[in-house]
Symmetry: C2
Subunit: 284 residues, 2 copies
């Protein structure tokens, strides 16, 4: 039976590109996959947490904009999900329009993250254009008709899918722009060189130092730390941490047991690897 | 001469409410103030950094959605700005519409953060409504006309300013929703019980532990830690930290000097207090 993969849709989003990459990778292991687009990241994760799909592929971090906070908050909530693997997608933004040149463009539609990632280019080339947010880069294309005053920022892949001409590409300010996605399911994680976890701490001075010391003393390196509000009051946080370590190793298990003692609630989302998947040029 | 205050506009935004509160507080100290709305947080901060206005009032953290990353990223960039004080504004969202009841509403416009903060209420009361993002809660009101199928989420203050009826209020999922704003200028900060700083670290294992140990050993409590990407590559971060300490104190100065030695670049944005400003009911 085909593996069902939930992702933020519709066709043409970067989340769909990541889900497709993972589906291609599964096919190489002789597993068939079917893509299931959802209107939000939250709904993709909920579908996987409730077992309505086998897998969810969701963005967790962009190299320019930072953490995708919706994903972190949802993972704390749906804590039966485990990270199976990660994959990294290069992100490239293009200006799409029916206009012949960029000069007539007065209005540009795109997802707020894409608009932010092209801010410098827009200030230089289209300083007077009005920027209008949309729910996804694909949704932005719905605003394009034959009006040459309208532009949209989306991927080259979306341009080709929806047959819209590209006026300029790439237009992102940071050339090494990329997004890390997590592959999540209800299965136990299979282990790997990275472990992701989150914890809350008791509200006492230095409460965060002790857990970090435990990790440092076990020679476990942190590759990321992110704080998120508990949503109860200002100043009350959860901490999301990525470790360069495999939770299947006895020494790491000992450190995690110690971590349980010096945190309030600890949730380990699994150990996994970054999949070495080559990304075709047509995907970015 | 009146003190000029930059804020995210137009009239009716929460940033304008915070700027107005600060202007009222200045008037009590016999200083006149004039409000200068800007189309983005970035442009408000830039105006203050270039000396085009005296002060910028910008949101830095919401109790539900977390850090306002634009503000942190811009402050690292415009590092001549210093925090003069902080103020806390309770946030209350209302559903505005020309409809007589909520039933006919099919489309709701608002800022993505406001839509996110009312997610639970919307799922219960208007599960099929289409949610459309706008650049500000005030901009959402521009989409309201006499069409009873359209709604907007904004503040009660905006409803009264623009004379739009309130259909439901408050509709935010977390009743204690509030946002902390910073008051920034080119003046040296005047001291207070909180200090905000940011630093980059060398890419070596445990690089973050050492700075946190320095603070713990000096008995300085962290009230917040936030990581932000340097935007160069995935896994390369800046850390923004709030301390419960006054950088004018000799012991804190000694800890900061030690911090300089174990970080790559350290920027101290000043010591300040949260202003005890009462918020009128009409402001939320």
């Amino acid at each position: 039976m085909a593996v069902s993969i939930a992702h933020l849709g519709p066709a043409g989003t970067n989340a769909e590109a990541a889900a497709l990459l993972y589906a291609n990778w599964l096919e190489k292991q002789n597993e068939q996959a079917i893509l299931c687009p959802y209107p939000s990241i939250m709904q993709s994760l909920k579908a996987a947490a409730l077992g309505q799909v086998d897998i969810a592929v969701v963005p967790v971090e962009n190299s320019v904009e930072g953490s995708v906070t919706t994903t972190l908050d949802a993972l704390w909530q749906f804590d039966n999900l485990r990270i199976q693997s990660a994959l990294i997608l290069p992100i490239s933004h293009a200006l799409l329009s029916r206009a012949a040149t960029i000069e007539p463009i007065q209005t540009i539609y795109s997802h707020p993250q894409a608009l932010a990632q092209c801010q410098g280019w827009l200030e230089t080339h289209l300083p007077n254009a009005q920027l209008i947010p949309t729910n996804s880069t694909t949704e932005a294309l719905q605003h394009l008709d034959d009006d040459p005053t309208i532009g949209a920022i989306s991927s080259q892949r979306a341009a080709s899918l929806y047959e819209v001409p590209i006026l300029a590409s790439p237009i992102n300010d940071h050339p090494d722009n990329c997004t890390c996605f997590w592959v999540l399911s209800l299965q136990p994680s299979s282990g790997g060189d990275r472990t992701s976890l989150a914890f809350s701490v008791h509200d006492i001075p230095g409460a965060l130092v002790k857990p970090l010391q435990v990790l440092a003393e076990s020679n476990i390196n942190l590759s990321r730390i992110e704080s998120r509000p508990t949503k109860k009051s200002l100043g009350d946080y959860l901490f999301f941490i990525d470790l360069e370590a495999d939770s299947m190793e006895p020494s790491v298990q000992a450190a995690l047991a110690e971590l349980t003692r010096c945190t309030e609630t600890l949730k380990v989302f699994g150990s996994y690897c970054i999949l070495p998947i080559p990304v075709p040029d047509t995907f970015t």
